[in-house]
């Protein structure tokens, strides 16, 4: 069953083109890792799905419903939750309050505050601590937990490993694996390719706003991925009409 579909989306930030007629299809229960160099369009892709950015062309479908024009907070109601890059916790609220705000959409499901503490036990003892005082790894856990509280069908993760020690990143991905086992579909953007390719059932490599490579990790080899990432052996395309 296709959960998410992007149909030839083009996205701009002002004059800058960030995505160029990109299409993708994500099945329920899958875990898609989106990789690519800086500026390749990974975060833009997440913004289109979360609703923070509107495409200049193309459409976004969730369960075959056109959500292209739906605002971010309403997409949470529909089952899309984003863990933004840099975590963006409510720094003056406590851990528990942060998690409770995540339930603002009142969606039902297996995720409630106890379930979140089960998956991230080390934040339970910090439940009444203000978020600003947490370590980086704890903050990331709270950010993920907060998104889980809305019982998303599709969980979007933007660079969860950023700024964190490898040991902590490993723990976070162990937790994320538990999330996928529960049936949640994951779409993650990640610089740490080792972890990303480990958890992913599918990989998408973006280059200059377009798909350079797509497939499942077992079907791809390292050279293919590196070349797609750097855009090597990509024949310069015949002159497209300039924008």
């Amino acid at each position: 069953m296709t959960l998410l579909r992007l149909e030839r989306v083009t996205a701009h930030y002002g004059h800058l083109q960030a995505l160029d007629e990109l299409s993708l299809s994500l099945d329920e229960g899958a875990t898609l890792a989106v990789i690519g160099a800086n500026g390749a369009g990974k975060s833009t892709l997440l913004s289109l799905v979360s609703g923070e950015l509107r495409p200049s062309q193309g459409r976004v479908y969730l369960n075959d419903e056109d959500i292209t024009k739906v605002e971010p907070y309403r997409r949470v109601n529909l089952g899309i939750a984003l863990v933004p890059e840099g975590r963006h916790l409510f720094s003056t609220l406590t851990v528990e309050e942060n998690l409770l705000v995540g339930a603002a959409s009142r969606r039902q499901g297996r995720w409630n505050i106890d379930a979140v503490y089960d998956v991230f036990p080390f934040i339970k003892q910090r439940r009444n601590v203000r978020a600003a005082l947490l370590s980086g790894g704890e903050q990331q856990a709270v950010a993920i937990g907060r998104a889980l509280m809305s019982n998303p069908a599709l969980l979007l993760l933007d660079e969860v490993s950023l700024g964190l020690a490898p040991v902590i990143v490993r723990d976070l991905y162990v937790a994320l694996r538990q999330v996928t086992e529960g049936g949640t579909t994951l779409l993650l953007v990640e610089q740490d390719l080792t972890e990303a390719l480990n958890i992913a059932s599918h990989v998408l490599c973006l280059l200059e706003g377009r798909v350079a490579l797509s497939g499942s990790p077992q079907d791809l080899d390292q050279t293919q991925v590196v070349n797609a990432y750097f855009g090597r052996h990509a024949a310069p395309p015949e002159a497209n009409s300039p924008s």
Partner: protein, 291 residues
């Protein structure tokens, strides 16, 4: 000696009224960084509405609370949704300009409708009844009621913010707007609720002020200044701070008056300036305001 104690006591009671005026301003600023220059005018507007209601339906003005307060909340909600939300899109100057225009509009409409006379809401003996403590200290009944309601209101608001679900969503929106919307919080509703609360509380302040002294179409601007001063003295975005700010301002004014009857208000301004100069974040540097 007693005279000074009385001045302080009266100042505290006055401060309660100022706190009533300011908590709405503080809330709006805390939640959406919005400075509402028409804030004082809404207080005066509520007073005029009460005035008209009493004119036509008689009785003591006290019953008008039941109509004016909910009506103010509704007006606040709609005002935010229909007008002020758009002002926020325009950048930092836009809300100031829009609410400035609103202020002028309200004041002029009131002037057209009611002329420039001083009006007042007569509450009979309540305006002058007092409890005598000793020969120098009298506690006006109305003043004590206002103080009590101010403290109760601020405590309730604080409870609302810290314990309730919509209150928590409001704090979250004030803290990190983007994250709030990504968590599913309906920002528009949060903002409209904040403005509804702001206008309802300032209406309470306006009605009580009208009972305590007189009002004119333009007295809202004056009230606005005191409300600002209370908020700044106490610390932006913290309700208990706003209460404290109101109390400090009230005491400054009454003690100043005691020194020289003409200088009461000036004393308040001087204290305000001193705070701006030496502790601009306010007495209680806010836990809620985020840089």
């Amino acid at each position: 000696m007693m005279v000074w104690i009385n001045a302080i006591v009266q100042g505290l009671l006055l401060g309660g009224l100022y706190a009533l005026f300011s908590c709405g301003l503080s809330l709006m600023f805390g939640v959406m960084r919005f400075v509402n220059l028409a804030h004082g005018d809404f207080a005066v507007l509520s007073a005029y509405v009460a005035y008209v209601l009493v004119e036509h339906l008689g009785g003591t003005p006290l019953w008008t609370f039941a109509i004016v307060i909910p009506a103010s909340a509704l007006v606040g909600f709609m005002l935010q949704r229909l007008l002020l939300d758009r002002a926020l899109i325009g950048g930092e100057l836009s809300p100031l300009l829009v609410t400035f225009g609103l202020s002028i509009l309200i004041e002029n409409l009131l002037q057209q409708g009611f002329g420039a006379n001083n009006e007042s809401l007569f509450v009979g003996s309540l305006s002058y009844d007092s409890w005598k403590i000793n020969n120098s200290i009298y506690l006006g009944r109305l003043q004590v009621i206002v103080f009590g309601i101010a403290v109760l209101l601020i405590a309730s608001l604080q409870l609302f913010l810290s314990r309730s679900r919509p209150g928590r969503n409001m704090r979250a929106t004030a803290d990190n707007r983007r994250a709030a919307s990504l968590s599913g919080v309906n920002e528009r509703r949060v903002r409209a609720t904040a403005t509804a609360i702001a206008l309802a509380t300032v209406a309470v302040g306006g009605l009580f002020l009208a009972m305590r002294t007189s009002f004119t179409p333009t007295s809202g601007s004056n009230d606005l200044i005191f409300a600002f001063e209370a908020v700044i003295i106490g610390g932006l975005g913290n309700l208990w701070g706003t209460l404290l700010g109101g109390l400090i301002l009230g005491v400054a004014q009454t003690v100043g008056s005691q020194i020289n009857p003409a200088d009461g208000i000036l004393a308040g301004h001087l204290v305000f300036l001193a705070i701006l100069a030496y502790r601009p974040q306010g007495i209680i540097a806010s836990r809620y305001a985020v840089s």
